[in-house]
């Protein structure tokens, strides 16, 4: 047995290569086929023309007589860029998502900090309390806010009863309702990476800074904040990117004055049945989100790197 180590290794290597292929192959192929490839099709259809047929778009390549012709229709993109509605929906989405992300950060940071400073047993309980709501239906939790925020809803009734306001506030279908919805739904996504980062923070660094005469706000700005940068980045990306394309929250809590692009895409597809324009909306959204997705990807790759 010891006489043919080379051959033995050869077999082992082939077997290992097969095993490796068996491990990485299925998820890789699945995601390539069902996640990556579809984007090419979206791109293709965004360059087609709408038609009343099934499927409701034209082919890019066409045989006419003996000529193969490729028609790329850029009109969908031109339409998006020239129409006030789409441009303002994009800008609105970016602005609302950005503000909501900052709000999430401001609320989640102190929460994550307090939890990270707790004794380990208690930390788990509080983390569980934070995550628990996201395990119940997202749709139903957003729906709950309708009952609270509407004109004759609980919040207005309470404020009226307390005498703080004379007439009900119009909160539902306003931008404030959007912020409440997004912060409510995405707070855990901000909090978890912040917590994961803050919990690793070495107490001795804080003590050193204090011993060297730093005041508490100086310790925060010059030691804690820079050290938790990667957690802040990850949390912000986890909130910002999906918030830009959010559909349920603007649909249920938003109004006509604060259209977001996810809802526009939905309406373009389901109400207008214009698949090429819906595809163009998606492609432009993807382009806008490319940089944030890359940032998150870099962070994630570092976090999950084999050690």
């Amino acid at each position: 047995m010891k006489r043919a180590p080379g051959r033995e290794r050869g077999f082992a290597q082939v077997a290992r290569a097969r095993l490796r292929w068996l491990v990485v192959g299925p998820p890789y192929l699945w995601l390539l086929l069902f996640f990556a490839a579809p984007f090419l099709i979206v791109l293709k259809i965004s360059l087609a023309e709408a038609q009343i047929a099934m499927p409701p778009f034209t082919d890019l390549l066409r045989w006419s007589g003996e000529k193969l012709s490729l028609t790329l229709n850029l009109a969908n993109y031109g339409f998006l860029l020239s129409d006030e509605l789409y441009v303002s929906a994009y800008l609105n989405s970016l602005r609302i998502a950005l503000n909501a992300t900052l709000l999430c950060l401001l609320i989640a940071y102190p929460m994550a900090w307090v939890i990270a400073r707790m004794p380990p047993g208690r930390r788990l309980v509080f983390l569980m309390l934070i995550i628990l709501p996201s395990w119940t239906s997202f749709l139903i939790r957003i729906y709950a806010w309708i009952g609270i925020l509407k004109n004759e809803g609980l919040l207005n009734e309470a404020l009226l009863a307390l005498g703080l306001i004379d007439a009900p506030l119009r909160i539902l279908h306003s931008e404030a309702a959007l912020y409440i919805g997004i912060v409510y739904a995405y707070l855990p996504f901000m909090l978890l990476p912040l917590y994961a980062n803050l919990v690793k923070l070495d107490d001795r660094l804080l003590e050193a800074a204090t011993d060297l005469g730093a005041k508490s706000h100086q310790v925060f700005v010059r030691v804690i904040l820079p050290l938790s940068r990667s957690g802040i980045l990850a949390g912000c990306m986890l909130v910002f990117i999906p918030a830009v394309g959010e559909f349920v929250i603007p649909e249920l809590l938003g109004g006509a004055g604060n259209l977001m692009i996810g809802k526009v895409l939905w309406q373009e597809f389901f109400n207008n049945r214009d698949w090429p324009v819906a595809s163009a909306v998606a492609i432009v959204m993807l382009l806008l989100l490319m940089v944030p997705i890359m940032l998150l990807h870099r962070y994630q790759a570092r976090e999950l790197e084999a050690r």
């Binding site: 491990v23 579809p38 979206v42 709501p133």
Partner: protein, 278 residues
């Protein structure tokens, strides 16, 4: 131990944050027992909305369909996601790694409308080119859910694999087990809690998905979220409160069970550690 963490303001923020997270759910639960249809009027205790919910045949059919899809999606996503998680956590560099980790990261944040639209267009194109899938329905929803759920499972599994003790695996290998056997008999049992957590996460994500399913479903495959959405769009219906309460109760029980199991395991680990004189 409290030290700087004892600052009053952050603590106040924590508790207000928790109230913010839980108040809407508490309100749903309370009003699910309200006799009155109005949100702000308390008409007395009643279970009539639960009866109405159970008698709503469409809702029940949709719920059953969603549970089936969630079960099969979670199972397939756990398989694929575990493989992907192993690759992410344990393999060093290999060709195609950047693309692979991109394929894991992107579905986590990609807006649902984009995933839904792109998968629908894929299915439509495929059925024109190769005649499959013939119709859209539970199968296409299943494919869509497996796709995004496996990314979540991969993250759960790889972060578990990343911070666990490899000495047991090394011991098994030293004792002559090959990689496959080590994985099946040592690694897999050790990451079992993460597998269960990943499966449950995938199950709830699938059960919860409205947008992607709306794009890729066919006429006869309305899922529970789609059914809820269409009734919610028409206004507040107390039936949905009853449904929400049932879901919250279900999740609550599952989490209590999981917490109990986890707690017991920790206790056992602590005992084992102190016994080994660590």
């Amino acid at each position: 131990m409290s030290g700087r963490g004892g600052a009053a303001l952050p603590r106040l923020m924590l508790w207000s944050g928790l109230i913010f997270l839980y108040a809407p759910m508490v309100i749903l639960v309370v009003y699910s027992f309200n006799e009155s249809r109005l949100v702000t009027v308390w008409g007395g205790f009643s279970t009539r909305w639960y009866r109405a919910l159970v008698e709503d045949q469409q809702m029940m059919n949709a719920a059953w369909r969603s549970l089936q899809i969630a079960f099969f999606s979670a199972t397939a996503a756990t398989l694929l996601g575990t493989l992907a998680g192993i690759v992410m956590a344990r393999w060093g560099r290999f060709r195609g790694r950047t693309l692979f980790s991109g394929l894991i990261t992107a579905p986590l944040v990609m807006p649902d409308v984009i995933i839904g639209l792109s998968l629908l267009l894929l299915f439509v194109s495929l059925s024109r080119w190769i005649g499959w899938p013939e119709t859209r329905g539970m199968l296409t929803i299943w494919i869509a859910h497996v796709t995004f759920c496996s990314a979540y499972v991969a993250v759960v599994i790889s972060s578990r694999l990343r911070d666990f003790d490899r000495s047991l695996e090394e011991a098994a290998m030293d004792l002559g087990a090959d990689r496959l056997r080590t994985f099946l008999w040592v690694t897999l049992p050790l990451i079992a809690p993460a597998l269960i957590a990943g499966w449950l996460l995938a199950f709830t994500l699938s059960l919860d998905d409205l947008v992607i399913a709306s794009f890729v479903s066919g006429p006869a495959s309305t899922t529970l979220p789609m059914q809820v959405f269409s009734s919610v769009r028409l206004g507040v219906t107390p039936k949905i409160n009853a449904l929400a309460t049932l879901l919250i109760a279900l999740v609550g029980i599952a989490v209590l069970l999981a917490g109990w199991v986890l707690h017991r395991e920790q206790q056992r680990a602590r005992v084992a550690r102190s016994a080994s004189g660590d």
